[in-house]
Symmetry: C2
Subunit: 235 residues, 2 copies
Amino acid sequence: DPTGDALAAAAAASSLVFLGTGCSGALPDARCLIQPSAPPCTVCSQALSLPPDRNPNYRCNTSLLIDYCHDNDTHKYILIAVGKTFREQVLRWFVHHKVPSVDSIILTHDHADAVLGLVDVWVVQSSNHRNDVDDQVAVFLTQFTMDSVAARFPYFVKRELEEGDETARLDWTIIESDVNKPFVSSGLEFVPLPVMHGEGYVCLGFLFGRKARVAYLSDVSRILPRTEISVTKTC
Amino acid sequence: DPTGDALAAAAAASSLVFLGTGCSGALPDARCLIQPSAPPCTVCSQALSLPPDRNPNYRCNTSLLIDYCHDNDTHKYILIAVGKTFREQVLRWFVHHKVPSVDSIILTHDHADAVLGLVDVWVVQSSNHRNDVDDQVAVFLTQFTMDSVAARFPYFVKRELEEGDETARLDWTIIESDVNKPFVSSGLEFVPLPVMHGEGYVCLGFLFGRKARVAYLSDVSRILPRTEISVTKTC
């Protein structure tokens, strides 16, 4: 059964799901629709008229889901960035690709379009037993981003949750903005790729993958020489 | 032309747009779709299959838009609560009802499902001249909510915005949780209706309207006696 073989091979493979490739405000830009120009913006008009899988113009905040398959049958779901539009991304793409849950999250920087979806992560936890330590979602982030998230969402870092709290149970791990300090998330190794996101602000991209090497840079205005050297040497 | 008269009358009338009547997590609940029960939840399944205007099952965070028409031809748009799903609500309902912008915002309390959409308010400002004081959106909120918002989003309260900042230009007014302290937002008077939202936490509802009196309570577990007396006396 060649069709069955192909399906089995696909099911046993890793894949990348681009949950979003849009700007911080996402597309459609509501201004194009409620304060339309003459003639109206066709990109934003079309964004509301087509279903998700045939619609390149509905673009949520930049975010990547890695469906990491190892040992041929175990899938781990690793999310890079969880922005303002995370709920929409779950409804559009988790449902479409039959992604049941998220195992770990890697944060790139502390802007709203990269972290604000943390408030909705509880819906993609693997279990409803959210006070069970085994069901925590691992989150990897710099100390700078940790401090920012803790200031905005103190309830994420307090130890005790009340019964019925609609809050994800998260397990925080601090990483460094250093190409020489790789870390392992859900069994997969990631090399941090510090880049400038506007001068004076560092954002992290990540280098990962065993069979194929992938460098993922979501927000970058200038690539640092040491980051470029690291990517060139290992890809 | 009776049809024309009816349209003109409708255009010159105030109206209420319920932007959301859902729970804090909104509907559909992504868990019903990515970790479906047997049999699957029909409400959440249907929520993805119908267009907005025929879909009672796609319910965003609780929020009310008051289209306040005075002097027969001037419309002011007043928003009560601006939650996590505000972007979706703009795309679904502002476009459908041809709402061009928001003039003022009233906050009920500081939870994410009532305030987090502040990060997207800049798209519904009336002008792109967002550093013009005349184009600020007035926001009414208690000191408690102000302190919470300022801690989460310090860039909303700093005075100087940089060119190109995707940040709403907001003008904050502190109100009191007191039925005897009405305030005026975009020309319409509102009476605060303090209610308990869980014991130990006060949320505000509001009483408003000239021809018809409307009491809007979005999150309430127990109505306080003084609030009930106030509503009973004036409705």
